[in-house]
Amino acid sequence: MALLKRFDPPAFFTDFDDIRGQREAWHEYVSHAFDEAIASERPKLRAGETVQFYNPAKDDHGAGIDMAITWNAFPKELLRAYGRARALVIADRDRSVLTEYCEWHVERDPETGAIVRVTFTSEPPEYWEAMYGGPLAYDQAGKKTVKFPGSPREVLRRYQELVSPHVQAHDLLADGTYDPLNKWNSTHGIMHLSASPNSLTAEIQLGADATIAYRNARGEVLVEPEPLICCAAFGGTDRNSDPTIGATVNALARLGAMITLANPVGLYMDHIDLTGWSAPKGVEIEDCVRVVRGDARKRMIERLVVEVPRKSAFTVSDLTIAGAPVAFGGQIAECITVKLVGTASALGSVNNAPSACGSRCCVDPAHFVALGEPIPNDTPAPAGTVVAFALEGGEPAPHDVARAAGAGHLGALRGHRLASRERIV
């Protein structure tokens, strides 16, 4: 496989085509983001070891296997915290909790409360920031930037076309620059992803982070998605997406592969599963779902609208899924699969030694539904918590073990861990 000549915009969008220098800047931006992520992995390896994440525009590792990594759009963090009934309510009200790289906006009839439209997006915020123009950071610290020519006029036109004809140019700004959380991409509508974890650079960084193999205190290599993410802290532990992305990439890395993300790098809705959907007589379900941006045939959907055709007297609330009326946008999200596509090449070409875990998940054993944020091993576990996956990856720090006495089998588990550490170290 030859070197990639140019990173294309997500879904091969053509919005940039009429902005001089925009596509070149996008290539430069994505390429820099790859290089930055690769550089961030180097300190985690030993001398002479190879970073297994690569920039396909700069390195050629031969033909590879493209592997779509898929996950469900409805946020698992909400399901774990609240159960489905409450999660459906919360998800429709607060975009910041939609952390599965897919967000949606529900429009209701103000008089009846019926859902008239639900719009989903997986477009990264960086794409729209770039289209507006100006410097855009590609590093975690926000200091290294690529300057985009941009076109504020084109952005406004797109907002007016896709979100609302009432959008004004100043609505999109904060302190004179494009505001990704402007009201037409938050309270009044949706254009692109806005929740803090949902970005293209986060995707690239996660891909890179996940190429590092880890071992537990007994020297066993971590495999399972959640013990791995608790140990490596490369994303949200309670999500559908991050543990699965991380574990899938990590499994390929453990096979000694070189790994990258397929061009065009992006986050996509793979498809919407309409099985079990029903519409009132005279309405065809297929007419109620429109791919507005992206390519459904190539399974690179970026914007999707669910809406009963205007000529009908019915609304989205008259549709049913498995016999249940659609009362929340989240019910539709449950039918949407999100994805990214990784590429693995040169299997068996790398043999890095696994690293030691840097963190662990500490959980409430009396109400264990979620893992929460991984806690660095040099930080004591919060009071009342125990270490999850104590025999797999969660490596209790000595202060955890000292507090363990009298906690039933969990205390014994932690005691066992200490014994293991003593034998090995």
Partner: protein, 542 residues
């Protein structure tokens, strides 16, 4: 994995299950070679509700609890160990279970309306489109054409009679049918299910050993520390394997996934999560039962395998591919039950028949060696599964990968997402074996009337049976991208009526396999609730 310094007493403390109150079909499950299903409908009439209640009162004493079922199971195991046979030679034990649909329960107690399950309330026929069944009313799988439980003909109750011999099961079913008639309740359905005769005993009609991946139930039958309902067959020194598995590779799942009111899955398999919800209170110790009558078109399946294999074998990387090898890839196991990724080169019947080895494999990493409870290692050390995260050896669309992702993540996240989908399968085959597996329907003396009476126990129809059917089996990108379940998937669930999946050749060549017809056709079923023994007596029969 061996840590001799660690005592077994440090294993997770598993709850004591109230086996005197749980029906035996739920825990530990009926796994008998002969079953008869009796489907009941309450006729419209002035005395119907009273008659139904009186019948339930009469039947309640016939129902077998979990304690008695477990004793029978253990006795069977002892006998099997002595005789080295898979079936009992002498036993007159007959086990009985009684379950109700939402319609049936509501006739016995209005409190049933509080059961928090949309699927149960609507019923299988109303949800069949979601399961991928055809929307065309002329199609065989449409609920208007089902032989049992179709639209407008939903059952109110289901009796399951199970035993070691056909004659004793039939005799007990006759007695129960007589009681049904005596109470003027309609016997709307009666059908026998029997395991196939040797050498296909335990194999479903396509020829594959069935139920090999059955999960184990965490829990004890008494306060005794080692009175586990699911036997532990991994050496205690193997930690965490001995705490994670019954037989090697047999996931131990917290009982709340199968019975209401007990701790369910948490993110860490060694730690319990909150209990499964039991509302109203009398649903505690109860379970949901899914019955789905699946006709299997054996001739179509094997003719298709033969045609596809013949086509693939012409392609680079697939030379010599046979119908059996292709089918094994699509199932994930060979006929004997031997896992494909332990022995990709061909079936090894000894491996398939060894319960200590036939379910021991992972997908995302090389499978580590394990010591069995008798101190011996896995007897097939040269056939340990190698890491296959991309589905190159065992395709991601293989049936066993579609319904159980094991150590790999899924579209729903990590391992607990798989544990929380597991079912206890307690069904059985029906119909006679097809002598020529390639035969066309016209040459089949039984006109294709054979298949599986699929029966499963779970605590959530939505999160377990329906999720597996609708979200994983029938979706080509879930739990991982790679295609549809080509074994049991439903074509009507796909946008263009075609199922497809990806296979890799010896040189990593990618080929697509497609099927525009399905060989597993739904022909009936229903969603039921299996109440506890006390709920039967004190709530439903009163």
């Amino acid at each position: 994995m061996t840590h001799p310094a660690v005592a077994l007493s440090a294993a997770p403390v598993e709850p004591v299950l109230e086996l005197d109150d749980i029906q035996g079909i739920a825990v530990p499950g009926f796994f008998k070679p002969h079953q008869t299903l009796l489907g009941l409908r309450v006729p419209v009439g002035a005395n119907a509700a009273g008659n139904f209640k009186a019948l339930v009162r009469a039947l309640a004493v016939e129902v077998t609890d979990g304690r008695r079922t477990l004793l029978d199971r253990r006795s069977y195991r002892d006998e099997r160990h002595k005789t080295q046979t898979r079936h009992r030679i002498e036993s007159d034990v007959v086990l009985v279970a009684l379950a109700f649909s939402n319609g049936g329960l509501l006739q016995l107690t209005p409190g049933a309306a509080a059961i928090d399950s949309e699927a149960f309330q609507l019923g299988m026929a109303a949800r069949s489109k979601f399961l991928g069944d055809p929307a065309d009313p002329h199609a065989e799988g449409h609920p208007s054409r089902w032989v049992v439980g179709g639209t407008g003909a939903e059952l109110d109750a289901l009796l399951i009679v199970a035993g070691d011999h056909r004659d004793t099961v039939t005799a007990r079913a006759d007695v129960l049918a007589h009681a049904v008639a005596a109470h003027e309740i309609e016997l709307a359905y009666r059908e026998d299910g029997d395991v196939r005769e040797d050498p296909d005993r335990g194999h479903e009609h396509f020829g594959f050993d069935d139920g090999v991946s059955q999960p184990g139930i965490r829990g004890r039958g008494s306060d005794a520390p080692n009175d586990f309902i699911t036997s532990r067959r991994v050496a205690p020194t193997e930690i965490p394997a001995s705490w994670l598995f019954g037989y090697p590779g047999q996931d131990l799942v917290w009982p709340g996934e199968f019975v209401l009111g007990y701790p369910a899955t948490s993110p860490d398999p060694l730690m319990p999560g909150p209990p499964s919800r039991s509302v109203p209170h009398w649903t505690r110790n109860g379970s949901f039962l899914v019955f789905r009558r699946l006709r299997q078109d054996v001739g179509l399946f094997w003719r298709t395998m033969r045609e596809l294999a013949a086509s693939l074998t012409e392609r680079p990387g697939f030379t010599g591919l046979t119908a059996d090898a292709l089918a094994a890839r699509l199932v994930g196991r060979w006929h004997s039950g031997a896992p494909f990724n332990r022995t990709p080169g061909g079936d090894v019947p000894e491996l398939g028949g060894d319960r200590h080895a036939n379910n021991y494999f992972t997908f995302d990493a090389d499978t580590p060696p394990v010591v069995r409870v008798n101190g011996t290692p896995d007897p097939f050390p040269a056939l340990m599964a190698k890491a296959d995260p991309a589905g190159i050896t065992c395709p991601w669309a293989a049936h066993i990968r579609k319904v159980n992702t094991r150590d790999a993540g899924s579209d729903m996240g990590a391992r607990d997402s798989t544990y929380a989908r597991r079912l206890l399968r307690v069904g059985i085959t029906f119909g006679k074996s097809l002598a020529d597996r390639f035969a066309h329907l016209k040459d089949d003396p039984d006109k294709g009337n054979r298949g599986l009476m699929f029966l499963s126990i779970q605590s959530s129809i939505e999160d377990q049976f329906e999720f597996l059917s609708a979200r994983w089996i029938n979706d080509d990108a879930r739990p991982k991208a790679g295609g549809h379940d080509m074994l049991v998937g439903q074509n009507a669930a796909t946008p263009d009526g075609v199922r497809r999946c990806t296979l890799f050749g010896a040189g990593l060549q990618e080929e697509r396999v497609t099927a525009d017809r399905q060989w597993v056709i739904p022909t009936g079923g229903g969603y039921f609730f299996v109440p506890s023994m006390s709920a039967l007596r004190e709530v439903l029969a009163r």
